[in-house]
Symmetry: C2
Subunit: 182 residues, 2 copies
DNA sequence: TATATAATATATTAGTCTGATATATTGGTC
DNA sequence: GACCAATATATCAGACTAATATATTATATA
């Protein structure tokens, strides 16, 4: 098994827990996986068709609903494929922050403009941290309901620790830039 | 000016500071920008040709060298383009960690395997932190040499704070998983 | 000195993913 | 009744990666 096409694995991971439509998969990625993963419809829908063709998932239409709803279910082969992938070593962890890129070139734009980029970053971080703190609370409240919750919580704790560090850095970075500006 | 093709801006940012070949640009990205940006030759070389075609950079052959060396220099239009881009708001900061993805699906693989993924992540983080601490030291030693160094240092400080937080999380995450495993 | 290996240097391609767009339905609000 | 937001699937141009090809030069080692 080559360690490839991450989308397949993400989808199988989500389907492992519950049946989903492509639209619902996108929603899960945009909420539960938000701060460490993303995906567009342009990769989700083709990947779903591909999974069905390879026998890793099945597709059925939702009768009883007027919407053009297509529900996907993982197969046993799909579960095996997922487990094989989980056992493989991690290939890549990537951080790609345009904010840091603009900061790196800060000498070309000056302290003031750089500080305003940091301000935006700080505000965004604060909002996302707030969201994660709420997620932490609700996960802790229902930790025993589902063995998976413990693992979800771990990713949330990662986010909280990371964002805390970001906010600390924002404060210090701005201080350093302001001292020099005067 | 549409806020697009990040590669162009990265290259212009680097060329703003010094003349470079495509190969050297790749090296800069792999070292100075390493932990917050990456790029492949497949995007660098075409982007360089494109920049020349648009008049944002010029290309000349390195005579006096047997190697097929092509040196790129930023133009005034290139500098203006860079400054316009720097003034625009940041479009996207993205974190894409396969480690967290496998962690999120941890319930399908169990605590032991999850811990081993964390171990690998911890080791990798420790190594990169070591590298950043050395970079911090040498930047602090020559801070006054170049106004740009202050900005480089800020990105390094960001990395150090972040990686410190990662290591703290690794410890706590493993403790939580081990307690439950016994 | 010969030879292997690592580093330098440019270039291209298959395959993957994003961001945008198109289309259509359903539910709620004013 | 009109409007908007959310639901739902699908496609495509353009961007980027990982891999590969090719060739030269510097360095270590036997």
């Amino acid at each position: 098994m080559a360690n490839e096409k991450k989308m397949d694995c993400v989808i199988l991971g989500l389907l492992c827990h519950e049946e989903l439509t492509g639209y619902e998969i996108k929603k899960r990625i945009n909420t539960a996986l938000k701060f460490f993963w993303s995906a567009s419809y342009g990769s989700i829908y083709p990947a779903l068709n591909d999974l069905v063709n390879r026998g890793l998932a099945t597709k059925r239409e939702d009768t009883g609903n007027k919407r053009n709803k297509l529900i996907y279910t993982i197969t046993d082969e799909g579960r095996n494929y997922l487990k094989e992938w989980l056992a493989l070593p991690v290939e890549k962890d990537e951080l790609r922050y345009e904010t840091l890129l603009k900061l790196f070139f800060g000498n070309e734009q000056g302290a003031e403009q750089t500080i305003s980029h940091i301000d935006v970053f700080e505000e965004k971080t604060r909002k996302e941290l707030q969201y994660l703190l709420e997620a932490e609370k609700s996960l802790k409240d229902c930790l025993s309901d589902d063995g998976a919750h413990k693992y979800y919580l771990l990713t949330v704790e990662f986010g909280i620790k990371t964002y805390d560090a970001y906010l600390e850095w924002c404060k210090e970075a701005k201080k350093l830039l302001m001292d020099n500006g005067e």
